[in-house]
Amino acid sequence: MNYILEAKELRKEYPNKLALQGLNLQIEPGEVFCLLGQNGAGKSTTINLFLGFIAPTSGAAFVNGMEVAANPLKIKEHLAYIPENVMLYPHLTGLENLALFSSLAGFKYKEAELLDYLHHAGLPAEAVRRRVGTYSKGMRQKVGIAIAVAKHAKVLLLDEPTSGLDPKASNEFSQLLTQLSTEGTAVLMATHDIFRAKEVGTRVGIMREGELVDVRPTAALNAQELEQLYLTYMHN
């Protein structure tokens, strides 16, 4: 099986903390894998290891079959990333930010195409030519989504992507993820939102103290069962 994302005994230690212990994970194209867990459980560490932003203490992360540590730039061609709090360049407009990040990824879009991406991400038309310094967190998040979508990556790495979005925008984002996954895009999403995970995820993984303690297909659980399972692990 060709996994688009794979972690083999992935471990990350800091001088005074074990952030991730021996993670084994495989994600296929078109799959939406949601990582649930409390703050400090290792969700963001996992995403940062796949992005190559931090080096593993041991084990290896693979993107499209390439080891991340050996191909730190090449693997990013296949990845798009949305952090919990999308920070953009405040002196540039939303449109200029999208043009900049797209050009860095190798895409030179025409203005109409850029506007289209921003529109589909839910950014109001009146905001696209305003400087990002005047944006709310939710508006920045939408530009971040547009940046990720415009990259046409095989994998989306999302770290609390709906943080700061209003319910309508969150719902639209869920629909977007579903659409992208049906087109073959794999998604690894760290989230606290159990119901969103159930809604868009194909599998959920529960992390606790740097360890992936359980993995379930979302189809096998309803939202209440998932919540109960999550709370059980957290209380233990």
Binding site: L51, F53, I54, P72, L73, K76, E77, L79, A80, Y81, P83, N85, V86, M87, L88, Y89, H91, L92, E96, L100, F101, S103, L104, A105, G106, R131, G144, I147, K151, L157
Partner: protein, 471 residues
């Protein structure tokens, strides 16, 4: 890389803090250019007028004995170089004119510093001062957050997730900041170029074009160093505050402390004799030669005896030449030789002091751009010495020509005078400043220092950036 450069450039232009600072620096640059031009005009006109006046006075002397004319003397006024409007170098502290007379090698006197208040010793507001001291400060305030702010706000991760390397980001930033700095500096340099080449008061030519071109290029490298340095410091420091404090500390060390310390060290290691001491030494040593004004001088008597023998006559009256003229000529040759030796020793001491500072340029780019800037502007110590030597060469030739006239007058010359028309045949002092080709070999060390800094900092700095942390 170009996208990042464009982003930095646009962001910088839209940043009000940068706008305020850059408008201030640009205003200072433009003001310094205009003030430099006004100062150049005033001093140049004054010196031209003074030179013309003393030349007229010299040529319109009445019928006189040539040795009286030699003592009447003349003045040589140092013309300013065109580029001194950008960098006045040591011009304000060195003299502007020298009195040329027989038997005496006078100092170049009447510097601006002598005639101004003590405030001039704190430095003048020249274009070079703004370029060397204030533009680096602007660069520091522009670049200190290059990486730290990206890390603090979290944009760096998003940027790198697009598939660019830290090295590409760094080069993009360096390019973007370079454009912003060029935008601030270029108008002032364009104004200077327009003044230099668009008005008649400056002697433009390929030499001036070459000097201005290298002047601009040197400062471009200097600013590049500060931009790269600031970006590197920003990449390796943990916070914007730490980066700013580090950069300001380096600026104080490089632009204020090290130059002063080097100057003091140079003066301690290579102490120069005072003017009074040198004059006394020259006077004392000149006593060993012929004294043209002392008829009892034994060496004069020996010379006279030699002349009688040479011409096969038994008395001075029968000589076809004036013994007094030949004695004066010999005396002048000896005292000039003594003076040149002492002058060369003193200059060698100053050269050693300056050389020490030039070598420190390998550690401190500010001490590399300073001599380079002054040298290209024609306002450094070497150009000053060139004038001093030209004035002494002219003085010596003039006095010896007058001695030759006296010699040709034969016996009893002291009772006679030469026609007023004679003085109009004598050449006037016309100073030709040395060309760029003369100046460049003297500037190789500062040029090498700047280039080594540029290559070394780019290589080492970018390696540091590549290995710097992301979060």
């Amino acid at each position: 890389m170009h996208s990042i450069a464009q982003k930095e450039f646009v962001s910088t232009l839209r940043d009000k803090r940068f706008l305020v600072l850059s408008v201030l620096v640009l205003a200072l640059l433009l003001a310094a250019t205009l003030v430099g031009r006004a100062s150049y005009q005033t001093l140049q006109q004054e010196r031209q007028l003074a030179q013309q006046t003393v030349n007229d006075q010299f040529r319109h002397q009445p019928a006189r004995h040539p040795h009286r004319v030699a003592h009447y003397g003349s003045f040589a006024f140092r013309p300013r170089s065109g580029l001194s409007l950008l960098d006045s170098g040591v011009d304000s502290f060195t003299g502007t004119s020298v009195f040329l007379e027989a038997h005496q090698q006078n100092s170049v006197n009447f510097s601006q510093a002598q005639q101004s208040g003590s405030l001039i010793r704190f430095g003048e507001m020249t274009v070079a001062f703004v370029l060397q001291m204030l533009v680096p400060l602007l660069i520091i305030f522009l670049c200190f957050g290059a990486f730290t702010q990206e890390r603090e706000t979290g944009t760096l991760k998003l940027l790198l997730s697009q598939g660019v390397s830290l090295r590409q980001v760094a080069w993009g930033k360096i390019l973007g900041y370079s454009r912003a700095v060029a935008l601030v500096v270029a108008p002032a340099l364009a104004l200077a170029a327009a003044l230099l080449f668009g008005t008649e008061e400056f002697t433009s030519g390929t030499d001036l074009v070459g000097r201005l071109g290298l002047f601009v290029l040197s400062y471009a490298v200097y600013f590049f160093l500060f931009i790269v340095g600031a970006v590197v410091v920003s990449a390796v420091q943990a916070s914007s505050r730490a980066a700013l404090v580090t950069l300001l500390g380096l600026w104080i060390l490089g632009c204020i402390i090290l130059p002063k310390a080097t100057a003091n060290l140079g003066a301690t290691l290579y102490p120069a004799v005072t003017k009074a001491q040198m004059d006394a030494d020259v006077h004392e040593e000149a006593q060993h030669g012929i004294n043209g004004h002392d008829p009892q001088d034994q060496r004069s008597a020996a010379l006279k005896a030699g002349l009688l023998k040479k011409y096969g006559v038994d008395s001075e009256e029968k000589l076809p030449v004036s013994v007094g003229g030949i004695v004066m000529s010999e005396s002048e040759a000896y005292s000039a030789k003594v003076y040149q030796q002492h002058f060369a020793d003193l200059n060698a001491t100053y050269e050693r002091q300056n050389r020490l500072s030039d070598w420190v340029g390998l550690l401190n780019p500010y001490q590399a751009i300073r001599p380079l800037s002054m040298g290209l502007a024609g306002s450094d110590f070497a150009h000053y010495v060139h004038f001093q030597q030209a004035a002494e060469t002219y003085r010596y030739a003039l006095v010896q020509r007058l001695n030759a006239l006296q010699t040709s007058m034969g016996y009893g010359d002291k009772e006679r005078k030469l026609d007023a028309h004679t003085w109009q045949q004598l050449p006037l002092f016309a100073y030709q400043a040395p060309p760029l080709g003369w100046a460049l070999p003297r500037l190789l060390l500062p040029v090498a220092a700047l280039l080594l800094w540029a290559v070394g900092l780019s290589w080492l700095g970018l390696r540091l950036i590549s290995n710097s942390r992301l979060a």
